[in-house]
């Protein structure tokens, strides 16, 4: 075991994993996280705690991760390169590991121009690929980025993101291969609506033998409404929402659009379970945590394995 995290154990045993997502609040609000965590407990194997997503100030992801731990949820601590340099990153990793955080997702981060402080100064001292390398070096070599020894190395299970829908399409698999070479243990993909394109991408990933080296969790966001579907299609960078998905949501009564979105999401998950090389699903029910239990139930993902039984 590299980290001994619950997520690592589940993936290593070949059990189809389920990860969720929890966005920390825009305030010093403990109850807000507890409320979200309550809905996710027992429904997911680990939960991503986002790091100021879309460059909007929120409670620190390490703090959110610690609260998740207290609530009995295993966190997947997200860290972006936008806001901190290598000194702060390594320091945060030491702190996070010391207090029980075992999974990390290494990301570049959305540009601050999209957020609530558009003219803040960007950091990007290192990029996501270099961050992965650094976390691996800390774990496997017991060294900081400058090659100095770490007295007690943090042992993280290292996650990275992949977007099968970004441009240039042909290069996406090479970039994934680079992330694996850098040290990624698991991948959580951009949220998938274009299943054809995802199938094609997975085929390329399988053909290159990459699924033997890394666990791939397919990302999904259940659509709540037609408005949301259209918004995702038009305004979210790197998102590919095909017209047929829009039509399907549009085709049902407004009151039933949410349940149609959930139904569609569950159909996707059923396909992922059967799809070669897909090791799990990353369910990003943003501000919809309370619907997660019914989604995982409907997708036949319950019960989740008890961490104690994985020893």
């Amino acid at each position: 075991m590299k980290s001994g995290s619950n997520l690592e154990k589940i993936l290593t045993k070949g059990i189809f994993a389920v990860t969720g997502e929890l966005g920390p609040p825009r305030g010093a609000d403990l109850d807000a996280i507890r409320e979200k965590a309550k809905h996710l407990k027992g429904m997911v194997d680990a939960v991503n705690i986002t790091d100021n997503q879309t460059a909007i100030v929120r409670m620190a992801s390490w703090a959110g991760s610690l609260i998740a731990l207290q609530e009995g949820l295993e966190p997947n601590y997200q860290m972006v390169c936008r806001d901190r340099n290598r000194i702060a990153m390594q320091s945060d990793i030491l702190g996070a590991y010391t207090l029980g955080i075992r999974n990390m997702l290494c990301l570049s981060g959305d540009h601050q121009i999209f957020g609530d402080h558009p003219y803040s100064k960007k950091v990007f001292d290192i990029d996501s690929m270099q961050l992965i390398t650094m976390v691996k070096k800390m774990r496997d070599d017991g060294k900081f980025l400058n090659n100095e020894e770490i007295t007690k190395p943090p042992r993280m299970f290292i996650g990275a993101a992949a977007n099968p829908f970004g441009d240039p399409y042909e290069f996406r698999v090479f970039r994934l291969a680079k992330k694996i070479a850098a040290g990624a243990d698991f991948i959580q993909t951009q949220c998938i609506y274009n299943m054809n394109r995802f199938r094609e991408w997975m085929k390329q990933v399988n053909d290159r033998g990459l699924t033997e080296k890394v666990f791939i969790l397919a990302g999904v966001i259940p659509l709540k409404s037609l408005v949301m579907a259209r918004y995702m299609q038009k305004n979210v960078p790197g998102m590919d929402v095909p017209e047929e998905v829009i039509k399907r949501i549009e085709g049902v009564d407004k009151k039933k659009q949410a349940s149609e979105g959930i139904k569609m999401c569950c159909e996707q998950i059923e396909e992922f379970i059967e799809m070669k090389g897909v090791a799990g699903v990353h369910l990003m029910a943003i501000e919809w945590e309370h619907r997660v239990p019914e989604i995982v139930e409907q997708a036949k993902l319950l019960p989740r394995p008890n961490p104690k039984d994985l020893e």
């Binding site: 540009h111 601050q112 121009i113 003219y119 803040s120 100064k121 960007k122």
Partner: protein, 231 residues
């Protein structure tokens, strides 16, 4: 002006070792003035490269040509007919010029021979110092004409920090403390009140690709025919 330094010879040599016909393109703008990539430096580099290749018993064709400014399209026109004779270009322009050259000839392999270092001044012959980081929102009016973004290692707007000692910066005794200089100059001018209030967090407007069109030229570039000529 933009200041650059010539790359080590071995580095440039490694970049071009697989090519047989090379043209080194100099720039008679800033690069000539800072003695990094003008006509003279092009000749020097080419001679050094030729000698070094000769030692390895190879003899690629290495020629030179210096344009007025590599950052302006009309000065690159002359190269249009020339570059076909070569299989690689070395550029001795600043980073902007190198990219403009590569953009002009997308099928050519273009290699840099200088490291662009900063926007600065000529202290004396061969002695350069940084003065501007192109932050896009000049504060020199408030700081007595001394830039805290460039001259203060911590980019403080409300300095000096606790590390300022005997007029020097804490990171290097050879670097003056920008805020000591700002303080002295404003005091001498009777303008200290300008730095007595807290200078609030500012907008960093140069965080995405910089591009603009002068107001008097807006019409020229907004017509349909010219769409795409701007980013």
């Amino acid at each position: 002006m933009i200041i650059a330094k010539v790359k080590p010879l071995e580095e440039v040599k490694t970049l071009i070792k697989d090519f047989k016909r090379i043209l080194t393109v100099g720039c008679a703008g800033c690069m000539a003035i800072c003695l990094a990539g003008g006509q003279k430096e092009v000749e020097t580099l080419n001679t050094k490269l030729a000698l070094s290749f000769k030692k390895d018993l190879t003899s690629p064709l290495i020629e030179g040509y210096t344009v007025e400014r590599q950052c302006e399209p009309q000065f690159l026109d002359l190269l249009d007919l020339m570059v076909e004779d070569y299989d690689a270009l070395i550029s001795m322009a600043c980073g902007a010029g190198i990219q403009f050259l590569a953009e002009r000839f997308p099928n050519m392999k273009v290699f840099p021979a200088v490291n662009t270092t900063f926007v600065g001044v000529n202290r004396d012959i061969g002695w350069y110092e940084e003065r501007c980081q192109c932050c896009g929102d000049c504060v020199l009016a408030f700081t007595g004409g001394i830039c805290p973004v460039t001259m203060c290692a911590k980019v403080l707007f409300n300095g000096p920090c606790g590390g300022s000692q005997d007029g020097h910066c804490e990171v290097d005794k050879n670097i003056p403390c920008a805020w000591v200089d700002i303080y002295k100059r404003l005091k001498a001018q009777g303008r200290l009140d300008q730095i007595l209030d807290v200078f609030p967090a500012r907008d960093w407007k140069n965080q995405t690709l910089g591009t603009f069109v002068l107001e008097e030229f807006q019409a020229r570039y907004s017509s349909k025919d010219n769409e795409g000529s701007q980013r």
